[in-house]
């Protein structure tokens, strides 16, 4: 429903069916948004996740160090899930968002 809407909206919807790790979120969304399928675009999506976690909208769960360089070598790959506030925001978005043509 939220394809083509602002990236943070889509991250919330993407996490609706369960927790996902940094690289899963960034790789999947980078393919959806034109101009994001590169290191800079993925870094922007990762930063959006950091801001959402900082605001308490998504929770940081288990983390592993990216030793093989799957996403960013030496950095953490964090499992993110929706918090209570995140679920409230997602319900709010579902009732207010204007669907976009993709």
């Amino acid at each position: 429903m939220m394809e083509g809407t602002p990236v943070k909206f889509r991250i919330l919807e993407f996490l609706e069916d369960g927790p996902k790790r940094t690289e899963e979120i960034c790789n999947a969304l980078a393919k959806e948004y034109p101009g994001y399928d590169n290191d800079y675009g993925k870094a922007k999506i990762k930063f959006d996740c950091i801001e959402l976690a900082s605001s308490g909208i998504i929770n940081e769960g288990e983390a592993v160090i990216d030793e093989q360089g799957i996403f960013q070598q030496g950095k953490l790959l964090i499992m993110y899930s929706l918090s209570g506030l995140g679920k409230e925001y997602l319900d709010y978005l579902k009732s207010t968002v204007k669907p976009q043509k993709v």
């Binding site: 602002p6 800079y40 922007k44 983390a63 918090s83 506030l85």
Partner: protein
């Protein structure tokens, strides 16, 4: 290093970025005072006062409309320059994607634009009808409203140390300008308009931070900030057109925009104000509205420093031989208190800021 150590480092880095954004906001805001002061004597702004006075015969109205005109020019310059900023960051499409979501988030930026318009024009009115010192002190009160609303409305956590830092920073800012108020540099033709302007600044910026904080939960700071300036720009253009339709020659000096010196001044106020706001908005998701606004209130100290560098301390602080000791003394005391407040915020435990809300 194990996972927990890296996670703690990431949280410390996030807090550092948030504080750095707040400090940069204060620096750009302080820098903005220099072209903001200079543009008042350019024909683009200076002649507006004379034109309106000739047309209406009312000096107070001429002063108010001069402030409105300058605020409008400032907002439009910021909105236009931010197109370059967002294009450079590759966020133009995100801007459009966000703009169309009126019901979900854009309505908050419309509100933030109106609150900001109220605050910026209010600070000009306070400076014009009372004194720049009073305007700065009135503006400095905005973190009180921002902090209260961020706790009540946004449900953000604020630690005791952060509350203390907000209070110390406010005391520092007020001390900074108290000398010029005590020295009696507040002669005014209409102090009531000045006081209303001061109130508009404090309430406008306080509420803008909270409304923007709500929208920033779901959007990019660069994009949100740009939307806020687009709406403020549209608001002022409509206001100025209505004023012009009423027969007041508000646009008579607009041709001066093509004068190279004036154009450079408009560019400088646009860049400094736009970047000040970019960094202000970027600090909110990192360290919260209360801390972002408190550290941003260092603009008062930065303004004094930059004006002293570019205009000389006598003009910047407004002292003479009789009042030098009082004004310079209060300024130095204020700067020291501001440094203590900043240290309190900077030395807060990064884990207390890791999540701005209670996680459930």
């Amino acid at each position: 290093m194990d996972v927990n150590e890296i996670r703690a480092m990431d949280h410390a880095r996030k807090k550092k970025i948030g504080l750095l954004m707040g400090v940069l906001c204060a620096l750009y805001w302080g820098v903005w005072y220099v072209p903001g002061y200079a543009i008042y004597v350019s024909p683009l702004i200076d002649s507006v006062y004379g034109n309106v006075l000739d047309a209406t015969g009312n000096a107070d109205l001429a002063g108010i409309l001069q402030a409105v005109f300058l605020t409008g020019i400032n907002a439009v310059a910021c909105a236009l320059l931010l197109f370059i900023w967002n294009a450079g960051l590759g966020k133009s499409r995100e801007l459009v994607r966000t703009l169309v979501q009126v019901k979900a988030v854009t309505k908050y930026y419309v509100l933030a634009g109106i609150c900001g318009a109220c605050a910026v024009s209010g600070t000009y009115l306070a400076a014009l009808f009372l004194s720049p010192g009073f305007a700065a002190i009135a503006g400095l009160l905005y973190p009180i409203i921002g902090t209260i609303m961020s706790v009540l409305y946004l449900k953000q956590k604020v630690t005791k140390r952060a509350y203390l830092a907000v209070i110390v920073l406010l005391i520092g800012g007020i001390t900074l300008y108290s000398g010029s108020i005590l020295a009696g540099n507040t002669e005014s033709s209409n102090p009531l308009i000045g006081c209303i302007g001061g109130l508009m600044a404090a309430v406008g910026w306080g509420f803008e931070g909270v409304v923007a904080g709500k929208a920033l939960d779901l959007t990019e700071p660069d994009v949100g900030l740009h939307l806020r300036f687009i709406f403020e720009g549209i608001f002022w253009v409509i206001v100025l057109i209505v004023i012009a339709i009423c027969g007041i020659p508000i646009f008579d000096t607009i041709g001066w925009l093509f004068d190279p010196t004036t154009f450079l001044l408009v560019l400088l106020i646009g860049f400094s104000f736009a970047w000040c706001y970019v960094t202000w908005y970027k600090s909110f998701p990192m360290i919260g509205v209360a801390r972002g606004q408190a550290i941003g209130s260092l603009y008062a100290a930065c303004g004094v420093i930059f004006l002293s560098i570019f205009l000389g301390p006598e003009i910047a602080l407004g002292y003479n031989d009789d009042t030098m000791l009082l004004i310079v003394g209060s300024t130095i005391a204020g700067l020291i208190i501001c440094l203590i407040g900043s240290f309190l915020l900077a030395s807060e435990d990064a884990e207390d800021v890791a999540s701005l809300r209670e996680v459930s």
